[in-house]
């Protein structure tokens, strides 16, 4: 008897799940999630993976200094290109 009740509840759950899936597919037109587009190409300058910190990692202030100068360099190149 318990098995029968459990089976019927499982049947209702599955019916609800499948009905909702069919409704969503039927009425939700087009993309439903915000797609992040790939507008640019990622340029990795440094990477390290491990259980802890790795020796020889650049410290943050040095890395930020490097990014700062890269940013200015690219900005200048843009200005020249526009000019």
């Amino acid at each position: 008897m318990i098995g029968l009740i459990i089976g019927i509840i499982a049947g209702f759950n599955l019916a609800l799940f499948i009905t909702l899936a069919c409704i969503k597919y039927s009425v939700d037109a087009g993309s439903t999630t915000n797609e992040l587009q790939d507008y640019g190409t990622l340029n990795i300058l440094y990477t390290s993976k491990g259980m802890g910190t790795t020796e020889g990692e650049p410290d943050t202030s040095k890395a930020l200094g490097m990014l700062e100068s890269r940013c200015l360099e690219i900005n200048e190149a843009y200005k020249k290109h526009q000019g």
Binding site: G3, G7, A15, E35
Partner: protein, 411 residues
Amino acid sequence: MVRNYKCPSCGATMEYDPIDEKLHCSYCNSAYAPEEISRRMSTYDAPAASHGEIDEVRRTAMIRVNVAVCNSCGAELAVNGVEASSFCPYCGNAAVVMDRVEERLAPDYMIPFKVGQAEAERIIRDRLSSGFFVPNSIKNFELEKLRGIYIPFWLYDTYYGADQGWKYTVSHGKSSSTYYAHMTGECVYHHLTVDASLAFNDNSSQRLEPYDMHGLKKFDPSYLSGFYSDRFDVGYQSADRIAITRSGEMYNASIKERIGHKDAKLEDNNFRTKVLQRDYAMLPVWFLTFRQDDEPYTILVNGQTRKMVGAVPFDKKKALFVFLAFSALFCLVFGFLGGYLMDGLWYAETHRSRRSSSNNDGSVKLFLYWVLATVFLWYRAVKRYLSMKKSIELSRSRTNNRLAKERQDKV
């Protein structure tokens, strides 16, 4: 945005046709390329520029537009061509009146409509008619409520560089280890789009993406003939923040993908970012507005890529019928399986445990699996329902009003 384009042959009004990318005269059937009409009519009022002032002139060029105002939601649209506006595509109310003629800033770039009205209608009809749960009243929508609108966008080129610490977990059977990743990188993003219209909600505009930026052209007002156009009312200061935020989100998503672990969490983020360039552009969108239970809804189609965005309310009677049919089928099958197999297993194990004093582990495990499966199904069902509800809510035109007001308050 320019009021009317007259046919050089007969003087009748011409409209742009996205199919052959020409302006057509409805009276004498002549067809002209937009560039040719622009050369002949010169309605683009750019002041004469010296060599070094070209960029400045481009940004201060103005065009004259006919402005129609919606008395219901306050949206302002430029009506290009002879058609008098009868309803507001944003809120669906027929409260639009011609208000004034004004001068507006000309965009730098635009993507002309590639999808004509007939094709936009076919895309929407095909999709809606294939939906079993879509109410018949929505399937047979009125064509007069399909409008092509040029939506203003800011196009950004941005730099985003960051020195980041990420943390993720790798499972080895029953144990797991925590790993750390130190990533320093940079990315220059090109033509990142930021919706510049307060009346058009950000979620909808982002769902319409991507646009193919290879189709970007220098602004030519003759492409606007026969379409509506919205004006930008989100200044670049606000748009800058959105562009930088989106750059950061895209950068983090790319780094996460590079790490290769979905559960990777950003622990430490030190970044440098800069707006390298911003341009003002108009991008094409088809708006279909219809009413269901006295509530206006809007379905959108990307006027360049044919991508359709929006959700419609479902037919509740059909949904109930399908649910009951599935329930009858599955209850029968699972009731039988549960009644005979599970009860049988339970009975056999109880019998055996009496003789050998062992536990009835098999049926307890089966019961636990059932509970887990039920929880999982409910979780997925609720998540699916909420996602669908959000999509329907976004298509509800009054949501556009609310979001527009929220953004107006923030700006």
